[in-house]
């Protein structure tokens, strides 16, 4: 593969696509697929074949369009987005391509949900066919790789990423450029790159959508990273629970190998790179980098003390670069447009955009990409469309089991790494769950503690025993049998776990409790002193309430 050959592929693909005067894109990402979008696509295909318009009307399966709650989504070349499309609507949509839109299915796109977004990571999602490398190349894909390989030294690539101000999107927000530079300076017989696609946070599905909608973008980011740090082998550690993402990644790797973008001597340079998949097997702790490495090595996923950091001694004892899916997805645009362009987006310390999985009690649920620094109020009320059924907002939860619940007072806070940390939560990988007055905060804290208790790997005692004891106290509070003394013990345990656990799981496990104790102390008091649950969740049998 040479730069000219890449241009050739892009040219041929564009030429082919220009024959189609009409285009219908059907979302075939997991969200819409579970609303039968495949049958919508099949129906459209059949209808096009029946009408004999195959040569000028293209029906394409594309990645996520964002508004998952209104799926299946279909967009057309005359700029209309349709929601909740059924197979029987195929003919009507094809008719509308030359006339006025099918009004009963139209999903307005001039609303804040679409207008307030800024797409960098998701720019191709919902536009290209994730199963065809040609489509990715036609939109300028892999040009960043070629640029890095032919015009830049590996040093310059690292500098460009440093200049962009990009920070790790897995949650902790470590500067990506710094990590790359450490790995590139480390000495080893071999170096590895690992893509962390073990998206274990309940309530987060950004990485899955990126992998399902635009897998080549992640591969390109990894290739550039490999070139920058001097690695020749890479693994993508992806959850076995995401079969569609695995299928599309396998396919993407095969295609990239076929055209010579993966393998030996890429683009006639001395750079060789291989990418392999490793399937996770359902352990939340494997999101922690040393546990993830153990899992890739075929062992139980238990963390080990750091240092040495994986950048020095990682996979098989060699220097290893570990980044999250979304971090890698940001790389190609940074190299293409320059680090300075990227650093102009976002806030002073948090650059760029962040993809959030907006879910819970809001009107619009789905995937959104917004510039850093947007306020929580905008997220919930403008993009999210507010709380349904006229209920009252109570809290927004970010960062999954390691994060916290932010109350009404935090609504005007900007969303960036520092502000969230100051408010007692974390950015996390991007799950954002909105809760209304029907949620009990004690119950929510118990839910997350149950999660951490089950997911604790058992290696260190503070986490193994501490999460169990905290869960026991929270259960007692929920059952209205707890005392003031229990509450003091709970607070003490929060502090203990935070400071003595071995890895991030245990250290951050108290966060949901700490943040709810801080902002919703009256709810805890009501459970303990008045023996009642203000939200009416605890202490009664579940079942007939819905």
């Amino acid at each position: 593969m040479t730069p000219e050959e890449l241009d050739q592929i892009a040219e041929t693909e564009r030429e082919q696509q220009s024959h189609f005067t009409q285009q219908v894109n059907v979302c075939v990402a997991a969200g819409c697929l579970s609303c039968q979008s495949q049958s919508v696509k099949d129906a459209l295909d059949q209808e096009v074949a029946k009408r004999g318009s195959k040569d000028h009307c293209q029906v394409k399966g594309v990645g996520c369009m964002g508004l998952c709650s209104e799926g299946p989504l279909v967009s057309t070349s005359n700029g209309v987005l349709y929601k909740k499309v059924e197979a029987a609507d195929g003919a009507a949509i094809l008719d509308s391509l030359e006339g006025s839109p099918v009004s009963r299915l139209v999903c307005p796109t001039d609303v804040p949900f679409f207008q307030r977004q800024k797409k960098i990571v998701l720019e191709n999602s919902g536009v290209i066919d994730p199963d065809r490398i040609e489509d990715y190349i036609a939109t300028g894909g892999y040009t960043a790789l070629i640029k890095a390989l032919t015009e830049m030294t590996s040093r310059e690539v690292v500098d460009e990423v440093t200049k962009s101000g990009l920070r790790g999107r897995g949650g902790a927000g470590y500067p990506t450029g710094l990590k790359w530079s450490t790995v590139s300076k480390s000495v080893g017989t071999k170096k590895y790159v690992i893509c962390n696609a073990d998206e274990g946070d309940p309530g987060a599905f950004m990485d899955r959508s990126v992998l399902e909608s635009d897998p080549h973008r992640v591969l390109e980011g990894m290739l550039i990273a490999g070139y920058a740090v001097g690695a020749s082998e890479a693994y993508i550690y992806v959850r076995a629970e995401y079969p569609l993402a695995i299928k599309r990644l396998r396919n993407a790797i095969r295609q990239a190998e076929r055209v010579g973008l993966l393998g030996s001597e890429i683009c006639g340079t001395r750079f060789s790179f291989r990418i392999d998949l490793r399937l996770g097997a359902g352990a939340f702790v494997c999101g922690e980098e040393t546990a993830l490495i153990a899992s890739v090595e075929g062992k139980r996923g238990t963390p080990r003390p750091r240092p040495p950091y994986p950048a020095m001694e990682g996979l098989f004892g060699e220097p290893t670069l570990i980044n999250n899916v979304e971090t890698f997805a940001n790389i190609a645009p940074i190299i293409r447009n320059g680090g300075e362009w990227y650093s102009k987006i976002g806030t002073e310390k948090s650059k760029g955009t962040k993809v959030f999985a907006l879910a819970g009690r809001v009107e619009n649920t789905g995937l959104v990409e917004v510039p850093m620094g947007i306020s929580l109020r905008e997220m919930v009320y403008e993009i999210g469309g507010g709380i349904p059924e006229g209920r009252k907002f109570k809290a927004v939860q970010t960062g999954g089991p390691s994060g916290g619940c932010l109350p009404t007072e935090c609504l005007d806070m900007p969303v960036d790494y520092e502000s969230l940390a100051k408010a007692g939560s974390i950015m996390g990988s991007g799950g954002m769950i909105v809760m209304d007055e029907t949620s009990c905060m004690v119950d929510v804290a118990k839910y997350f503690m149950d999660f951490c208790m089950t997911e604790s790997c058992g290696k260190c005692i503070p986490c193994r025993v501490g999460t169990y004891q905290m869960h026991r106290i929270l259960t007692a509070i929920g059952n209205m049998t707890a005392t003031e003394q229990d509450l003091r013990m709970l607070e003490e345990l929060c502090d203990l776990l935070k400071h003595t656990s071995l890895c991030g799981l245990g250290q951050s496990a108290p966060n949901p409790v700490v943040s709810t104790l801080r902002s919703f102390a009256e709810e805890y008091r009501a459970h303990i002193q008045e023996k009642k649950c203000p939200a009416g969740v605890c202490g009664q049998p579940v079942g007939e309430t819905v």
């Binding site: 359902g282 649920t365 839910y447």
Partner: protein, 169 residues
């Protein structure tokens, strides 16, 4: 490195062992391929039994305790065969606050089993998931690999009824 231990022969004539052997070969017969190999076994046989664990451990030359340790550490692996149908209820945060506990309660009452169990007639297995990543469709349930969104207690009851009465009719 030359190996002085003969490669073990599969426990029986089942053709599916060929798939397992292929994975072992692809991993170079090395211990690092343990998780990948167990994935293949589970995909081919549906679960990991003792004989499979023994075979994998011997083939990769790891102690049986390590194979068992890995198989029990990860939630995805199961040591028991699943029922004819499986129903997975997502207990992710979004599903939880939108009523997944009510779904679970409905199923538990109807079938008389708790998550991880299979009905005595081996028709239905009930499982819970940490998060399916279908939060936009909460609460979500997977019926035999098919994800269904915005499920209510009535909906799940009806679906399970179809399964449990299928052959009795």
């Amino acid at each position: 490195m030359p190996s002085y231990v003969a490669k073990p022969t599969p426990p029986n004539q089942d053709k599916r062992w060929k798939l397992v052997d292929a994975t072992i070969r692809r991993q170079g017969g090395q211990a690092r391929g343990l998780i990948e190999t167990l994935h293949t076994v589970q995909e081919a046989f549906g679960y990991l039994d003792e004989q499979a664990l023994r075979y994998v451990a011997m083939s990769l030359r790891v102690p049986l305790s390590r194979a068992y340790g890995v198989a029990t550490f990860y939630h995805f692996f199961t040591l028991k065969p699943a029922g004819e149908h499986t129903c997975v209820i997502c207990m992710g945060t979004a599903c939880y606050i939108k009523g997944a506990p009510q779904l679970l309660d409905a199923v538990q009452r109807d079938l008389g089993i708790t998550p991880g169990e299979t009905t005595p007639d081996k028709k239905v297995s009930l499982l819970t998931a940490r998060c399916l990543g279908s939060c936009g469709l909460a609460p979500a349930v997977v019926y035999d690999q098919e994800v269904a969104g915005k499920v209510g207690p009535a909906g799940i009851r009806e679906h399970l009824k179809k399964w449990t009465t299928q052959h009795d009719a």
